[in-house]
């Protein structure tokens, strides 16, 4: 198989998995008339079988349903955090790149300062101070994830400012605002959108780590991290499935989104194809 077609296959598989994830998250809750919270102690901790493909947890709840609902919570929180982070990052990156000079230096020092604190630790600190709730988690993830977007957008704006069409627009009498909205923003948006999509798995990962430490979402919102945290007792008793499946529900969407976003990046930056991105 040639390199070209392997790449196409990979993109198709990724696209199918992303579509499956989105459909499962959107359609399973309304279509399946089963209560994910339904406790059935007579069927607790059943290993995976045909009637319960992922088995059941220590309260007899079906793990497949729990995982789908968990993915829904994690994806929503991840997407909200990624969106907030992208808006902050794009605004700061665009202001730094467009103004230049002292404002640029000050904002970039701010970015340096933020990136000197390990993200999870800063997240833990914010969550510990404002606990408990969904908003502290979203804010803490957003506040630690806007840095790369700010850097990318600033670099993009800097390179755009040197282009002839921007000069042409300015000498044609376009206002600052018009240059920013009509010429800079549309050119920056694809990069910002790509950064936002790539950030969703990161944000999900971050949220699940916080929830796993018992500092994230409240336990009644069963995110994937909460599921793994809740399964620790069963794991020590030898039941592996309540731990294994929620983790797979983090890994598979992450890989699928990375695969799709990789193809998208190649399309918008064809020259950077060989560069390694993690």
């Amino acid at each position: 198989m040639s390199r070209r077609s392997t790449r196409t296959v990979r993109v198709r598989i990724s696209a199918a998995l992303v579509a499956a994830t989105v459909l499962a998250v959107l359609l399973v809750p309304p279509l399946v008339q089963l209560d994910q919270q339904a406790v059935d102690l007579s069927s607790k901790l059943l290993s995976p079988s045909w009637s319960h493909p992922f088995g059941t947890d220590d309260l007899g709840r079906d793990l497949f349903l729990r995982c789908v609902y968990g993915l829904r919570v994690s994806l929503l929180v991840g997407a909200a955090a990624a969106l907030t982070a992208t808006v902050i990052g794009t605004a700061i990156g665009a202001i730094a790149g467009a103004l230049g000079g002292r404002a640029d230096r000050a904002l970039m020092r701010l970015v340096d300062t933020f990136s000197s604190v390990p993200h999870l630790l800063l997240g833990i600190f914010i969550v510990a101070m404002f606990r408990p709730g969904v908003w502290p988690v979203i804010v803490s993830v957003a506040l630690t994830h806007w840095l790369s977007t700010a850097r990318i957008v600033r670099a993009e704006v800097l390179s755009l400012r040197a282009r002839p069409y921007i000069d042409a627009a300015i000498s044609g009498g376009a206002s600052r605002w018009r240059v920013a909205v009509r010429h800079l923003l549309p050119a920056v948006l694809p990069q910002a959108a790509l950064a936002a999509v790539l950030m969703v798995p990161h944000a999900m990962w971050h949220e699940s780590a916080l929830s796993f430490l018992g500092l994230g979402l409240p336990t009644h919102l069963a995110s994937l991290g909460n599921l793994i945290q809740g399964a620790r007792g069963s794991l020590l008793a030898g039941q592996w499935w309540p731990t294994l499946f929620p983790g797979l529900f983090i890994i598979v969407p992450t890989l699928a989104i990375a695969g799709l976003a990789g193809a998208w990046r190649e399309r918008i930056n064809p020259r950077r194809r060989s560069e390694l991105m993690l």
Partner: protein, 322 residues
């Protein structure tokens, strides 16, 4: 080189200042009440006068900027305040735990770097080969896997199913003393999992470096001179391919700290990370503030290390230019 180190340290000082200031500002903006946190459940039964006296003693009524300044001036002398959850000076808490965290991180990092180099060279030797595809896919999958999940599965497999390694802690519960044998057997799982979590990026970068270097002129020249394959691979390709990776080692400190935090909490390793989670759960502000500052200092130190390594291994870089 000393001048570069000095200059970088000068840049690091304001960052540390801003971070500590930010920590105090966040705490001031939060609904968190230091008096209740300090008194714990005793605050429920205490009369208003006692709480008022405590409030006065802790200096809570002052604006956060002056509390920050007070904290900063005593922190310089090594006094980071009193941890309310552990009822022990913060400096003491950190002092006892830093050794174990450093040991864990050092072992894990060493294992990750050695294994990553071997796997990276094997995969980068023939890009597109079966081995390369297996290593690359495994690396990407591992990179996506949450480290705490890997740690839990490792506990299940090695401690519960196979019963070959202890599931957590520093020593057996029955043992009173910390012996080398005990620590050695208890560190295998946490260090192994932490190493596995750091392995993917290192392997992928070495692979990229080696496969790029194999296409360059010096390697072609070495092949033309008839040097053996291992000399070409290890003496030429690896040497130039490893350069960019070495500089990344220092900049991976935040990821190492994050990984250690999660691994320590799964394995009940008595390190700094376990204390962080405890401090966060109990909203122990003095301990959290000190730990955040310490982690930031570690990251800045890692960046400095990255710069120094770069200059040390690449003779083309002059320190005076940096």
């Amino acid at each position: 080189m000393a001048r570069l180190a000095g200059r970088r340290l000068l840049f690091a000082a304001p960052i540390l200042l801003v971070v500590t200031f930010g920590v105090f500002a966040i705490a001031a903006a939060s609904p968190f009440d230091p008096v209740k946190a300090y008194a714990g459940t005793a605050a429920l039964g205490a009369d208003a006068e006692t709480l008022e006296r405590l409030r006065d003693n802790l200096g809570v009524d002052q604006p956060f900027t002056s509390r920050w300044w007070h904290w900063l001036t005593s922190a310089v002398t090594g006094d980071f305040g009193q941890s309310s959850v552990l009822r022990q000076p913060v400096a003491e808490v950190i002092g006892e735990r830093l050794v174990w965290s450093s040991l864990l991180c050092a072992v894990a990092f060493l294992v990750a770097v050695l294994t990553g180099t071997v796997l990276g060279v094997l995969a980068g030797r023939r890009p597109g080969s079966l081995l390369d595809r297996v290593v690359t896919s495994a690396a990407y999958s591992l990179e996506a896997a949450p480290v705490f999940w890997l740690a839990l599965l490792a506990v299940w497999l090695f401690a519960l199913q196979l019963g070959v390694l202890p599931a957590g802690g520093l020593t057996d519960t029955a043992s009173e003393q910390v012996t080398f044998r005990q620590v050695a057997s208890h560190i295998v799982l946490p260090a192994g999992v932490l190493a596995v979590s750091q392995l993917p990026w290192f392997t992928l970068y070495v692979r990229q470096g080696v496969s790029d270097a194999l296409a360059e002129d010096p390697v072609r020249g070495a092949r033309a001179r008839g040097l053996s394959e291992s000399t070409v691979l290890l003496g030429h390709a690896l040497r130039s391919g490893l350069l960019p990776v070495l500089t990344l080692v220092g900049s991976r400190v935040p990821e190492l700290i994050t990984g250690a935090l999660l691994v320590e909490s799964v394995f009940s390793w008595p390190g700094i990370a376990a204390a962080t989670v405890e401090a966060a759960t109990a909203v122990d502000f003095p301990l959290l503030a000190a730990l955040t500052t310490l982690a930031t200092a570690a990251v800045l130190l890692g960046n400095l290390l990255a710069d120094l390594l770069y200059g040390l291994f690449d003779p083309r870089v002059k320190f005076s230019d940096m």
